[in-house]
């Protein structure tokens, strides 16, 4: 139990710290932030339940007004913006990512984690984020989905990175990658 609390708290802090890291400009001036990479990693390393809890603690912190979302926003400042859907989707994304990582046991961990990140950190996240953003902006679903295409390349890179990092962590600290140990 102590282990769960500590890992959940530290990963919430890691997601916040990743949000402070400078944005990387990928192709065509679309900035990618590392925050959603942190959400994917919470799932691939901690597994479904603990990963989702870590992201929920992060959402709790921004609900308390801490400016931890990338760009210095908190839950209240994104409440009526298109970003809110993605923030709501974060815990679900981590859960699905962890769930898939726990089950894709036939693959090497790195590959499983990358695939799980695509399934959870991208597909599940978009499934919640796009309809909410469409509703908030009063755009149609198609219009919003077209806009979300801009994030696709960056998110694919992040999913790949999540797979790579998870594989390396498992080699360095086998017992700490909870998605595969418990």
């Amino acid at each position: 139990m102590e282990r769960t609390i500590a890992y959940v708290a530290l990963f919430a802090a890691l997601i916040a710290a990743l949000g402070f890291m400078p944005r990387i400009d990928l192709v065509a001036g679309v900035p990618i932030t590392l925050q959603s990479f942190g959400v994917m990693l919470a799932g691939t390393v901690l597994g479904a339940r603990r990963g989702a809890l870590a992201v929920l603690v992060f959402v709790g912190l921004i609900a308390l007004g801490l400016p931890l979302l990338s760009g210095g926003a908190n839950l209240w400042t994104v409440l009526y913006t298109p970003r809110i859907g993605y923030v709501i989707g974060f815990p679900v994304a981590a859960y699905v990512t962890g769930w898939l990582t726990e089950r894709l046991t036939g693959l090497p961990l790195g590959a499983a984690a990358a695939l799980a990140s695509i399934g959870g950190g991208m597909m599940a996240l978009y499934a919640i984020g796009i309809p909410v953003a469409a509703y908030m902006n009063e755009f149609t679903l198609q219009e919003t989905a077209m806009g979300a295409l801009a994030f696709l390349p960056g998110d694919l890179v992040k999913a790949g990175a999540a797979g790579l990092v998870t594989g390396q962590l498992a080699r360095m600290r086998p017992g700490a990658v909870l998605s595969r140990t418990t």
Binding site: R3, A6, G65, L79, T81, R173
Partner: protein, 199 residues
């Protein structure tokens, strides 16, 4: 560094956090139901006026605080103009500005620990349903404690990289940063175990 609370004492600072939270939530529901642009513009002006008791300086700083919303305003406004629904776009933008302004006022005048206490009280009834409120509060407090630690670790790793290479580190700092989070978690778990059996 983290908390946005204003050092200036204002009448709102003495209001209970729960009351302010309820007011902001209520405002959110009201403007969610409004779609008339003139009414929304009036609501925005009213929210701005409520900044005056905190001080003219804060009221004057509000447009500055709303500046990060520009990209959203451009995209939402631009697209709604293109598809011929500028008034809908204006309403969406106004709602966004109102909520950010109201939330800014709430956070300027409410301390982090007061908000945390209010949230704990709000969730207390769920304790009977098995929600571990105490443990969640502990995890929240620990996360707050470790955010500066991990941010500093990220900065140190970047510095160490730059001292050795002219190239951009790109993704190569991610594994060491995640690794230090894992190690820190393991040490904290041990410390928690050593201090209490009841968590």
């Amino acid at each position: 560094m983290l908390t946005p609370t204003s050092p200036v004492e204002s009448p709102y600072s003495r209001w209970p956090a729960g009351v302010k939270l309820a007011l902001v939530a209520g405002l959110g529901m009201v403007i969610g139901a409004l779609s008339h642009v003139a009414l929304l513009a009036m609501a925005l002006a009213l929210v701005w006026l409520t900044f005056l008791p905190v001080g003219r300086a804060e009221a004057a700083r509000l447009p500055l605080r709303l500046r990060p919303l520009w990209p959203f305003i451009l995209v939402i406004g631009g697209w709604h103009i293109l598809r011929g629904t500028p008034d809908v776009g204006l309403a969406v933008i106004l709602r966004m500005l109102i909520m950010v302004a109201a939330a800014t006022l709430l956070l300027l005048t409410t301390r982090f620990d007061a908000l945390l206490a209010t949230f704990s009280t709000l969730f207390r009834p769920f304790e009977r349903l098995g929600l571990p409120v105490e443990r969640i509060a502990l995890a929240l407090a620990m996360a707050v404690r470790f955010i500066p630690v991990l941010s500093q670790r990220a900065a140190d790793l970047a510095l160490a990289w730059r001292a050795r290479s002219a190239r951009n580190p790109r993704h190569r700092l991610l594994t060491p940063l995640a690794l230090s989070a894992l190690d820190e978690a393991e040490r904290s778990a041990e410390a928690l175990r050593a201090r209490s059996a009841s968590v």
